[in-house]
């Protein structure tokens, strides 16, 4: 595959770069990069942009394939990629969503201040660690029967709320109200069901976490007020996805679509890009299963929220008000959305793999209370650094199909991070800085701040590109990782 260099990229605006269609004969649309020049130089170090160019060959792709400033090399699609295909005949590609269907982030906001909570941090992190099953092999508190699992797959977070694991408010402030209506549980394999049956309410391992933090700075007072955020306020960030159930759905359908592709005359440069027309039988089967996986993920984050609230009550007493939902966003998903292409609104199948929806003010998909301000966009930083709350702008739809970055973005492999980081020392230093950490040393090394890009540069890029407005910066106080 041809190596991409700076000479192959044209700067269109200060934070928008383009690889034109002439770069490779099979490109259907340009490849666009949202990033500062410093980050573009970093991005050129791995094979993200070769993978982005491969994405531009998808059948029915519209306007351009995008990567966000947190992009890094994946397989098939790069992580941090966005691609939209025409609805309903364009391609749907499981690789454009990822194995962890509806991996996403949820932010809870408490009525406590940083000063109130500091003396209780060791007790709180202990309670969180006990309440939230983390790591691999640790089952959740529930083992679902077949009919219960079907309901979770069909109704997502709503099932959890009906069972008493949340409130009606939780649903209002979840993207798509925590349920994609296109879910078809009958398209989910027995293997996937077996893998997911005991995993609701678990965070898993890798880069998933639960982080207690506080609002360190308000970056836009009006928007912060609109989202109910104030300086010093304690928050809880939850990052997890659809666990083994979603992983198995992706495994099943990538394999199935790989075999179906030739019958639609589709040839692609990477097998992990496997796709079929959205309106084909295989495309509809995958979409039904993917939506079911997304619903499982929202239900999972709902159960983790319930566990966080249990830990809260244990530490602060039953009278303490539990943290309330601020917002929940997916960053591995495909959705049918309308955006302006070539001056006209068009229905599209928007694939986001490591990218967050970022709709602007007034959009009916945004909860009514937030509608004047834009959709909250949650950007976790690396362990020990800042995270951000942003708001989508009206320009995001036309610029990037209403999409933004999803995190800081890895810059070092796990192996490289482990070689460079002394985990016990890092843990001690973080604790000296007031950040408590509950995680195996191996994970602390792999997920150390040095392994990630500078989240401040990433956020500045999406802000300057006009996709989002920064609302608030969060600082961590205690982190639980699997």
């Amino acid at each position: 595959m041809k190596k991409i260099t700076k000479e192959d990229i044209q700067q269109r605006k200060p934070y928008l770069w383009e690889i034109p269609t002439g770069f490779r004969p099979d490109m259907q649309v340009p490849a666009r990069i949202i990033a500062s020049e410093t980050l573009v130089d970093d991005i050129l170090d791995d094979r993200s942009l070769q993978q982005l160019v491969n994405v531009t060959t998808l059948p029915g792709i519209r306007k351009a394939a995008f990567v966000m400033p947190d992009v890094h090399e994946g397989y098939g699609f790069p992580i941090g990629g966005v691609a939209a295909t025409s609805y309903p005949h364009g391609a749907i590609s499981p690789g454009g969503i990822g194995y962890d269907i509806n991996c996403g982030v949820r932010l809870l906001a408490s009525d406590l201040d940083e000063a109130d909570i500091r003396p209780y941090l060791p007790e709180l992190i202990g309670a969180l660690n006990e309440e939230i099953p983390s790591g691999m092999g640790t089952p959740g508190h529930l083992v679902l029967r077949d009919e219960e699992l079907d309901q979770v797959l069909a109704t997502g977070s709503e099932w959890a709320v009906r069972q008493g694991y949340g409130t009606a408010r939780d649903l209002v402030y979840t993207e798509s109200n925590g349920c994609l209506p296109g879910a078809d549980p009958s398209r989910v394999s027995e293997r996937a069901r077996q893998r997911g049956r005991d995993q609701l309410g678990t965070i898993g391992s890798g880069n998933h976490f639960v982080e207690v933090g506080y609002v360190d700075a308000l970056l836009d007072s009006r928007l912060a007020r609109g989202f109910g955020l104030r300086e010093g306020q304690v928050t809880v960030l939850i990052h997890t996805g659809s666990r083994g159930l979603g992983h198995q759905i992706a495994t099943d359908y990538i394999r199935l679509l790989m075999e179906a592709m030739p019958s639609y005359g589709i040839r692609l440069p990477d097998r992990e890009l496997a796709c079929v027309p959205f309106d084909s039988q295989e495309g509809q089967d995958y979409f039904g299963a993917m939506c079911a996986g997304a619903n499982f993920a929202w239900c999972n984050r709902q159960l983790v929220s319930w566990e966080v609230r249990k830990a809260w009550s244990r530490v602060f007493g039953q009278a303490a008000k539990p943290p309330v939902m601020l917002y929940d966003v997916a960053h591995n998903i495909a959705k049918i959305e309308t955006h302006v292409v070539e001056g006209r609104p068009e229905q599209l199948i928007v694939h986001r793999k490591g990218a967050t929806r970022a709709f602007g003010p007034g959009d009916s998909e945004i909860p009514e209370a937030y509608r004047p301000y834009g959709q909250p966009v949650l950007i976790p930083g690396s362990m020990g650094t800042s995270s951000y709350v942003l708001a989508g702008t009206s320009a995001s739809s036309a610029l990037t199909f209403g999409s933004c970055c999803h995190g800081a973005g890895r810059r070092l492999s796990r192996t490289a991070a482990k070689k460079q980081v002394n985990a016990p020392v890092l843990k001690e230093r973080l604790q000296e800085a007031g950040i408590y950490l509950e995680a195996p040393f191996r994970r602390i090394a792999e997920e150390a701040p040095i392994a990630y890009k500078d989240v401040n540069l990433v956020v500045r890029s999406v802000q300057e590109a006009g996709i989002v407005v920064p609302v608030a910066r969060l600082k961590p106080l205690a982190v639980v990782k699997g």
């Binding site: 994946g74 397989y75 691999m136 391992s205 495994t251 790989m258 492999s413």
Partner: protein
């Protein structure tokens, strides 16, 4: 024999074997090493045994399918399949008997075995080899 390859987010390795069976067994061993390097013990004291049979259009798909199925069984039965015997292994068919050890906890979660750059082929020395990327 396995060799780590460079990849930012996931774990990529090059797996080799003198025979197709050795390649498959080494692929499984490598996957287990990522999941939990310490779990596998004495093969004579395996806790459980399972059988699987798969068909695929080519040896690359067969290997990825075989490892994906072993991974699913690992999670479902909470057993690491440390040893494998192949009553039948051809380029498009595998019948395998897996011997496992129960585990309480794994070190890493592998989300999936991917097709990224995977290509089972025989090299100049006649050994079977392929890169494999495990999604963490």
């Amino acid at each position: 024999m396995e060799r780590m390859l460079d990849h930012i987010t996931d774990v990529a390795v090059r797996v080799e074997g003198s025979t197709l069976a050795e390649l498959f067994a080494n692929g499984l061993q490598e996957m287990n090493r990522i999941l939990s390097p310490e779990t596998c013990g004495d093969p004579r004291q395996a806790d459980c045994c399972m059988e699987l049979e798969l068909n695929a259009p080519d040896p690359t798909a067969l290997l990825v399918d075989f490892l994906s199925e072993c991974l699913a069984l690992t999670y479902i039965h909470k057993a690491l399949f440390c040893y494998v015997h192949f009553p039948q292994l051809e380029t498009t068919t595998v019948r395998a008997r897996l011997y496992g050890h129960w585990f309480d906890r794994l070190e890493n979660e592998i989300k999936a075995v991917t097709f990224h750059e995977a290509e089972v082929r025989q090299n100049r020395e006649g050994k079977w080899e392929t890169p494999l990327l495990f999604d963490l």
